[in-house]
Symmetry: C2
DNA sequence: CGCGGAGTTGAACGCATTCAAGTCTTGTGG
DNA sequence: CCACAAGACTTGAATGCGTTCAACTCCGCG
């Protein structure tokens, strides 16, 4: 089974094989299904083999705020394993194929493969870094930049796992979902998308984003991927694709 | 050395003693000093013995977005230990007393005290849960509720460590800081504070919050502390203080 | 054929920002 | 001791970004 080159820099060949061996039989979920419920007791982790899912919290009147997106190669429920329960809900967005790693298998790793468990810790820390970046995005950036920044993250996270190129990537969200992810109304999300389209930066249509101008997208969103802890080689590749000029030695500070 | 009953439910007497023993000599920092710099190589962790600090990221024009507040009993730099570097800056807000736990001490724990390291993992997951809740707060709540919700978190996190009662707590932020924490301008933060004061809910003055109406504060902010993973006993105590009626068997659904 | 969900667009409203001017406190130097 | 500068807080007024409400199109599906 393929691990999507999961988590560049974190898992080597051997670790991926070990992980793969620990996984149970996959289960398939339809779009818009509950994957994990808040407060549910932790019971192992779920590896997202394909499809997209969303972590979210509800406000008093029942409206959702996305607090994270799971893409192929992510784990759901790792924190519930370590903390005993989950503090938020997770729903599938598109059809999703999940592979469980039983609670006992994870416990067993403590003795049989401690450094694998250490990698799991790092995964949860990566999630944490991503959450912090979401705070920055929603707290500091105006609407247009917020969408561009969000798209940028979705692009990079998929790109570094070999799930897409730099000119197009899957994003099976509705415009309402997009609003819930970026802390704005669906109507406003729609308008911001329209603006990005009008400027030729990208086009969000049919559950995917067609990227017209890679560099402009990142610039518009003030995007920086430092928080994703990519290995230098991967980061350099991205920098080079973002700006071939920089690869020829011309420094572009603002792109870091 | 006192550990502030740190992290209710996570550390028992023995673990606290072990932790305490691993700590180096404290260092004192003035307000508004850099504690850790983004991209700095990880070098152990810093226990916050007293004082307040803020994690933040800068936007392109140099304005800060707070992505977390460190209160006494928190650790700074734990994630940098596990991931190798830090993705954000940390500054002191007030005077801060920090006690370092060297990188080597942490590494040594892998073999000498693995379950202590496991608790450290849980701490980082708690941080992660708090970050997610910040996304919810900033993404979904209108200005007034945002402030109330933020105050509520600061109250609960300090209360459960025995750092305050329910009628007043330290919060040595300026109104500008408050704005940076809640994703709004200082001017607007000022107005929201004024409204809370006018309604008799709380008064933010001289680096502390005087709580006029505990329950109203939480209600106004739609606050729920489920994400803090408090032990049931602690949570029950809070519930009881929040609403003595509930303790007499009258269910109040909206309070979680 | 009609329904419902997703997307689009217009117009009015309002929350939050911006700009600006002012007070108050604190610390520093004359 | 007072003068002054700087930072924190406060307040008013104008502006504008984003929400809300509403109507309409498009499309897939029963």
């Amino acid at each position: 089974m393929e691990l999507h080159l999961a988590y560049p820099g974190l898992f080597d060949q051997g670790a991926a094989a070990q992980l793969s061996a620990a996984m149970g039989t996959p289960r398939q979920l339809n779009p818009r299904q509950r994957i994990l419920r808040a407060n549910a007791a932790g019971a192992g982790a779920l590896y997202v083999q394909s499809g997209f899912a969303a972590r979210y919290r509800l406000d008093r009147s029942g409206r959702r705020q996305f607090i994270g997106i799971l893409i192929p190669g992510d784990f759901a429920g790792l924190s519930a394993f370590a903390l005993g329960r989950l503090d938020h809900d997770i729903d599938s967005i598109s059809s999703v194929r999940l592979q469980p790693i039983g609670h006992d298998r994870l416990v067993a790793m403590k003795t049989t493969a401690p450094e694998l468990l250490c990698r799991m810790w790092q995964l949860t820390l990566l999630d944490s870094a991503i959450s912090r970046y979401w705070i920055f995005r929603i707290g500091r950036l105006p609407g247009l930049a917020r969408i561009a920044n969000f798209f940028s993250e979705m692009l990079v996270r998929q790109y570094v796992r070999g799930l897409c190129g730099t000119d197009r990537f899957e994003l099976p969200l509705t415009q309402s979902d997009l609003g819930e992810a970026c802390g704005m109304t669906p109507v406003h999300a729609n308008r911001m998308i329209g603006e990005l389209r009008a400027e030729g930066i990208c086009n969000f249509v049919d559950g995917a984003v067609e990227v017209g101008d890679f560099a402009a997208l990142f610039r518009m969103g003030q995007y920086s991927w430092d928080y994703l802890y990519l290995p230098e080689q991967v980061s350099a590749d991205l920098r080079q694709r973002l700006s071939p000029a920089a690869a020829r030695g011309i420094a572009l500070q603002e792109l870091r």
